[in-house]
């Protein structure tokens, strides 16, 4: 198993954190991982993206030409990465603010309205866990149990009380995701 994933959105949406949680979870399950952020000044207010690779075998390049999965959280990210998904790959997008939806027919396209769901849950901070839950429901490279273990391991103990809420957000993501094509 090897998944090459790009996560891209606005700075401040938790793009890098999502990638980190994914990478840590992969580490906890004994997989090889790399986490490569775009670290430019565009991270504040502009777009931010991170490449995460989770693999059973050694990973060669942290820089990729094409991705198995693109998780895009705004229009500029969709415009930039739709064409860079491998044929047969997966595109997951949040519909919030998307004016020009994806057009490719040779990939699986999913929509998760995580912004709306997070608002419903009255907690904007769980937005990125809803997106991650949606991703894991269509691409189960890491179990929910593995994610929970990673949260316990990586979060300081004073935040452990928030883990059930985050696990709930993961499940909501799995229930919210819609197959578009």
């Amino acid at each position: 198993m090897k998944k090459e994933i790009i996560i891209s959105g606005f700075g401040g949406q938790g793009v890098l954190s999502m990638g980190k949680i994914l990478a840590y979870s992969g580490l906890m399950e004994g997989k090889e991982v790399t986490w490569m952020p775009a670290y430019g000044p565009e991270q504040r207010g502009g777009t931010a993206n991170v490449t995460v690779i989770v693999s059973d075998d050694k990973i060669s390049s942290p820089i990729l030409s094409q991705y198995d999965v693109a998780i895009v959280l705004n229009q500029p990210s969709l415009d930039k990465f739709e064409s860079k998904i491998k044929p047969g790959g997966i595109l997951i997008y949040d519909g919030f603010g998307i004016i020009n939806p994806p057009t490719r027919g040779d990939i699986s396209v999913y929509r998760v309205d995580a912004m709306d769901k997070a608002a419903e849950m009255k907690n904007a901070k769980v937005f990125n866990m809803i997106v991650l839950g949606a991703f894991l429901s269509v691409c189960p490279i890491i179990s929910y149990e593995g994610m929970e273990k990673a949260l316990f391991k990586t979060l300081p103990e004073r935040h452990h009380g928030l883990i059930p809420l985050n696990m709930e957000a993961l499940r909501v993501g799995g229930e919210t995701i819609l197959r578009m094509k």
């Binding site: 980190k20 990478a23 840590y24 580490l27 090889e32 991982v33 790399t34 986490w35 490569m36 952020p37 670290y39 430019g40 000044p41 050694k58 990973i59 060669s60 390049s61 942290p62 820089i63 990729l64 030409s65 094409q66």
Partner: protein, 374 residues
């Protein structure tokens, strides 16, 4: 990486059996330094390597091992603090990124002239001038040709993974003290900023004053028992004496070239083409090789680990009889000159690179291989 790291004499750089953690290359440098008995870090923040001093500030090694961590007022001050500490036989290092390392060149030349075992890290970004904060390998010439004034070399190690960022700290100090010569870790924004699995080296205590005096009888460690004073300087006004010093330095460099060449080869056994690449470019080239081999192109990777001493003979030997060599680097074509010198016209050598902070994608390297050599 896929293969074990080979030393010229066939030795291997070992890995300790310890906890596997996930961290950035910059963090790995800082944490490895604390663990391998380093006495001091002096530095000035600059992207993309500020996590080195940030991690040290967070971990507070002065409370555990007694290691000094100081934010200097400038890069010039930082490298001269390393000069002072190394002159006393201490394990001291600094780190910066390209424009900051340019500022340090005077100090590095002085370290080389005074034969001091200082270590410095360059997490490269694009230039020239203030340039960009994005990754680059455009300081290859500066690193391998000396960089400052005078006939000198520093030992240059080029890590290609977060694990090597950790492993090369102790290696750099070991080589620096073995040869009384500055040693450099030449990394870039990709390796510095990315997170990967890493096993940190086991803890090794800082050396005691007695151990330093035994290892470094030349050090200005405090004159005791009426021994002759040790003098650390790069100045010698008599040209006859200065030439002797230079001859001595050149003999030392020859010794280093004989003993310390390090490199890695991947999938070269059946290869018809060879890609030569170092650091992050070598990682990208590995992916290019996966893609090219899936298309039936037999290509392998030669990765210099020491950029100086350069594995010239090894590259020439490997390239012999091959259809061609592509040098992929994130600069305008610097290492390709060393590869061409090594191969000396025997086989075709081409270059591919991107500039100014753009990191090449694997497919671009595959295309370059096809269009330039096939």
């Amino acid at each position: 990486m896929h293969n074990r790291v080979q030393k010229k004499d066939g030795g291997l750089i070992g890995m300790a059996e310890q906890e596997v953690t996930l961290m950035k290359g910059n963090e790995a440098i800082a944490r490895a330094a604390v663990r391998c008995g380093v006495d001091g870090y002096f530095g000035y923040p600059i992207t993309p390597q500020s996590e080195i001093i940030e991690t040290l500030a967070l971990d507070k090694p002065w409370e555990t091992t007694g290691m000094v961590v100081l934010q200097a007022e400038s890069e010039v001050a930082a490298i001269n603090m390393v000069y002072g500490a190394a002159g006393a036989g201490k394990r001291a290092f600094t780190s910066s990124s390209s424009p900051g390392v340019a500022l340090m060149q005077e100090g590095i030349s002085y370290l080389a002239g005074a034969e001091l075992p200082g270590v410095f890290v360059n997490v490269q970004r694009g230039g020239p001038g203030l340039g960009t904060i994005q990754p680059s390998q455009s300081d290859y010439f500066q690193a391998t040709r000396g960089g400052g004034n005078g006939d000198y070399h520093v030992i240059v190690l080029a890590p290609a993974s977060v694990q090597e960022m950790a492993d090369f700290v102790d290696l750099a100090f070991t080589l620096a003290f073995k040869y009384r010569n500055p040693a450099m870790i030449l990394s870039d924004g990709v390796i510095g900023q990315m997170m990967e699995k890493v096993v940190l080296p086991p803890y090794k205590p800082r050396r005691t004053e007695e151990e330093i005096m035994e290892e470094c009888p030349w050090a200005t460690s405090g004159r005791r028992n009426s021994r002759q004073p040790n003098i650390i300087t790069s100045l010698e006004l008599k040209p006859e004496e200065m030439e002797k010093r230079n001859v001595h330095l050149q003999a030392k460099y020859e010794e280093i070239q004989k003993n310390e060449v390090r490199y890695e080869t991947i999938q070269c056994d059946d290869a018809e083409y060879i890609i030569v690449a170092f650091g992050s470019a070598a990682r990208i080239a590995q992916k290019a090789i996966e893609t090219a081999r899936a298309q039936g192109i037999k290509v392998g990777l030669f990765r210099p680990i020491t950029l100086w001493p350069f594995p010239a003979g090894e590259i020439a030997g490997l390239a012999h009889g091959k259809k061609g060599v592509l040098v992929a680097e994130i600069n305008a074509g610097q290492m390709v000159q060393d590869v061409r010198l090594a191969i000396n016209g025997e086989e075709p050598v081409e270059y591919f690179g991107r500039l100014g902070g753009i990191v090449p994608e694997p497919d671009e390297i595959v295309n370059a291989l096809k269009t330039k050599l096939m």
